[in-house]
Point group: C2
Chain length 197, copies 2
């Protein structure tokens, strides 16, 4: 069974868009979808890549483009404030949620909260509400986000993605083949379908 490693950070709108399609895609091609939180700011710093909006006309285009994708996918899209939000707490909480076997539900919910509902996920109260929504003890999880092993695990995921060639988000790996971006889901699907034959 093939595995899709899905490196995600909720700060990235294209990662949210991809997250709305990946579970069905994985199911269709009989692949396992592995959610791997990583810190996009660290990836940018390590690789020298820059966010799209550092080019003003690219930033303007991106907002229109996101709305077109959202309409095409028939999913909500609500540009959040603040953008970019600080996502370190939300990402560390993802690693704790994963220990408690609700990693996927939390990942989906925190991305939807930020880009689907425009909620400020840099606010610990919003992260706590999302944690409760997926059935977790929010206070306990937030306390666990301060564990050294959780902090180290997020750093390790980020460094591993960069070492394997990632420079942005979403970064989807099938073995060592990288697929970058919501706009590579068709190529990812074709690759998995061809591998399964």
């Amino acid at each position: 069974m093939a595995t899709i490693e899905f490196f995600w950070d909720p700060v990235s709108p294209y990662t949210y868009l991809a997250s709305t399609r990946l579970p069905a895609l994985a199911s269709d091609v009989g692949a396992r979808l592995l959610y791997r939180p990583f810190f996009l700011g660290g990836v940018m710093q390590a690789t020298g890549n820059r966010p799209p909006a550092t080019v003003p006309s690219k930033g303007r285009y991106m907002m229109a483009d996101l709305q077109m994708w959202a309409r095409s996918y028939d999913v909500p899209l609500q540009p959040p404030e603040p953008f970019p939000a600080k996502t370190i707490l939300a990402l560390r909480a993802a690693l704790v949620a994963d220990e408690q076997a609700v990693g996927e539900a939390y990942a989906q919910a925190i991305m939807r909260a930020y880009w689907g509902e425009g909620r400020d996920i840099s606010d610990a109260g919003v992260v706590a509400a999302v944690l409760r929504d997926v059935g977790l003890d929010a206070e306990a999880v937030l306390a666990d986000t301060q564990r050294e092993d959780i902090k180290a695990a997020l750093k390790r995921n980020t460094e591993e993605a960069v070492e394997r060639g990632a420079f942005g988000a979403p970064s989807l790996f099938v073995g060592e083949q990288l697929f970058w971006g919501n706009d590579r889901l068709d190529l990812l699907r074709q690759h998995l379908a061809a591998s399964a034959r």
Copy 2:
């Protein structure tokens, strides 16, 4: 009848990939495809955008990504030398070819020569061979590339694209809606199909 304005520079591999699909796409949705050569280097300079390969891991990914797209589209892809090539002469020749009503055939042929066949289109001899292939008097066209009105027309196309929001290639406009990249052809098709209803 809707018009797709296709701003293209043969230096861009994703523009070549898009060029292999756009005629059929336009025909499918009943739109007119208008080829508008522009100088991508000027767009980058005006907008502050940077080519992908300025981030080394993005450059490595791009080469694998291009091969996946080419396989998916079933079109040849031969990474050319030199890259990036100087394309000013090839672009000015496109404007002359357009005057002689073979703008589309030339645009298709010069992109295929560079990315499909790996030929050095910064070489006037290669441009001349492509001009002859589409039935033109190569020496006369090359002489015409030095006309001031041809030079000015390329500059004007480039400035117009930037003013309308372009920051890379291919840039596809339907009215004032920009679609950027080979990976936006599906959104472009949906947009045109919805407009036609």
